[in-house]
Amino acid sequence: MIPASIRILLVEDNPADARLVELGLVETDSGRFRVTRAERLSEALGLLRENAYDAVLLDLSLTDSHGLDTVSRVIEADPAVPIIVLSGLHDTELALQAVQSGAQDYLVKGESGGELISRSVRYAIQRKHAETELRRAHDELERRVAERTADLLETNTRLQREIESRHRAEDVLREEHGFISAVLDTLDALVVVLDRGGRIVSFNRAFAETTGYALAEAHGEDFWSLFLVPEEAKPVLAVFDALTASGRPSRNENRLRARDGATRLIAWSNTVLHGERGEVAYAIGTGIDITERRQAEDRERQRLLEIAHVARLSTMGEMATELAHEINQPLTAIAAYSDACVRQLRSGSSHQEEIIEALERIGTQARRAGEIIRRVRSYVRKEESPRTRMDINELVREVVHLAEAEARWRGVGIELDLAGTLPPLTADRILIEQVLLNLVRNAIEAMDDVAPDERRVLIRTSAGGDAAIEVAVRDSGPGLAPELVEQVFTPFFTTKPSGMGLGLSISQSIVEAHGGRLWAAANEPCGAVFQFSLPADAR
């Protein structure tokens, strides 16, 4: 703690006093003290700034400073250096004051021998050191306390804020809950929430009004047994299971049974609500009552079917001559073969091989006639055929069979360009056949004024964009005037001397009832192209 060599700054303007102190120190502990002397305070302060001293021996009456001010200026210049005041015999009062204002000790000049000075210096150094340490420890303590206090304050503030925000969130939630309920109750759409077990959690006003149940009485009840007709329970359960298993939104339609037993047809959009751990917690159905809409659609469809049927009958009427000819051909061959057989057998000149071959041909021709009749009967059938999965290419070939007599008679060649693979299509077969036959016959009839070897109809099937199937019927006729491109689809519009002008209008209605589109355009290099697209089945 006490350095081996003690550097002392002696500030004393009286050379004799200074000398006495120096001598005293040398006497006591020779070689240990290194004394530097300054006569003025300004000189001392300069030395203090430039050098390190272990202690300052300070006379309070200097030429440029007096009294306690001297002490405080030294402390100011180097707060860490211990100060021992050198005081005159009558100045002890001042010396005591100096000690109180930061000096470590005081020595009375002339009375202090080397021993005393040396001890005082050592003590002063030690005391000052201890004081400094104490202060540092104290400061450190103070700093730490302040730090912890700041931490605590911050935590406290945070907590405060969190509490406030939670209060606010609860308020918002409470507000939102009421708000959302109110909003849901204004909807015409039905909203129902089920838990994973299919029990009623909640529903809105529209649902309550449609079913005649209040939420309070239906809450917790099984959705299926309360609201579904028995035969639909199973498929709807399958929709629910798929929804809750995958979490993917889905759509379905089913009837909803009210308290009084009446049923309404609802189109549902189904979604799920996830729980805290990401699991599917609730199923939510949003439904629109489509009962009336569906009834109107059914009536519309029925009307279209009836008109379409009349149009098919009318087409067959127009084609009667061709069809009669087509049926008469095989009948003629059959009659001639059988007459020939009878003649040969009667005359005894028959060859068995020839007779067998003729009989086989009779069979073939009978089936040919039967096939034509089958096509016509199937085409004019009235009853609604269920929408079935069908092969559009096969339908094209069927239509070509129906139309080929007329085409042959008018010298028109029919070419096919059928796509190898097409997406599956579900449609009313007879109606689509009707559309196709109508387009093909229009194309055939459009070419009466074209040179015979240039009368061509091309039927092409292809996969369109957006999962659709496209069928195009191209002719090499005179084409459509631009102003007629839209007009040809209006009812009773016709360019033919005979014909009602309903074919394209009905065809368009049929295609649109299947969710498709029918349109006309110019063909290249000449003629017109009528084409329709039908949506393929969803995968």
Partner: protein, 200 residues
């Protein structure tokens, strides 16, 4: 093409051609079949005898058009038109244009064969008459103007004496001309002379 009278069948429907071929052969008639009027025209060499059995309704050239074409080319092949049921108007048109007959599909074999045989017989008769007529014309061409003049008087039934008086020549000269005419026309009697003169 053989000179034996043949039934030429023109129909675009293969089963009809094939069954007709079998039926007509069973009845002992030579048959040739063609899928179109064009095919027939390419194969037929006039004036091969027979008859044409052609469907009125065919793509390309119809039976009626074929009939008109033959008439325009002065091909004297009798045409039997095949019509479907209910094509009476077409049958009438065909007959007016000179068709030999028409048959309706499906055929009654008896009626069809009778119709074909009748037509073939008429064709043969016509051809006989035609060949006779061309023979007469050749022989008449050998007569001098004077001989022709005298022949016309003979055909009119005048006596040698009356002809001599009319022409201002002697009966003896008329006698000599008459012998020359009989010789040139290869006529054995006056009746032969009259027949040959009328058949030209």
């Amino acid at each position: 093409m053989q000179s034996e009278p043949t039934v030429y069948v023109v129909d675009d429907d293969e089963p009809i051609r094939d069954s007709l071929r079998m039926l007509l052969r069973s009845a002992g008639l030579p048959v040739e079949t063609f899928a179109s009027a064009q095919q027939f025209l390419a194969a037929y060499t006039p004036p091969a005898p027979g008859c044409l059995l052609v469907d009125v309704r065919m793509p390309g050239m119809s039976g009626l058009e074929l009939q008109e074409l033959l008439a325009a080319r002065k091909i004297a092949l009798p045409v039997i038109i095949i019509t479907g049921h209910g094509h009476v108007a077409m049958a009438v048109r065909a007959m007016k244009a000179g068709a030999a007959d028409f048959v309706e599909k499906p055929f009654d074999d008896e009626l069809l064969l009778e119709c074909i045989r009748r037509t073939l017989a008429r064709d043969a008769d016509t051809r006989r008459r035609q060949s006779r007529s061309s023979e007469s014309t050749q022989r008449l061409a050998a007569l001098t103007p004077r001989e022709r003049e005298i022949m016309e008087h003979l055909v009119a039934g005048k006596s040698n004496k009356a002809i001599a008086a009319d022409l201002g020549i002697s009966a003896r000269t008329v006698e000599v001309h008459r012998a020359r005419i009989m010789e040139k026309l290869e006529a054995k009697s006056l009746a032969d002379v009259v027949r040959i003169a009328l058949s030209s």
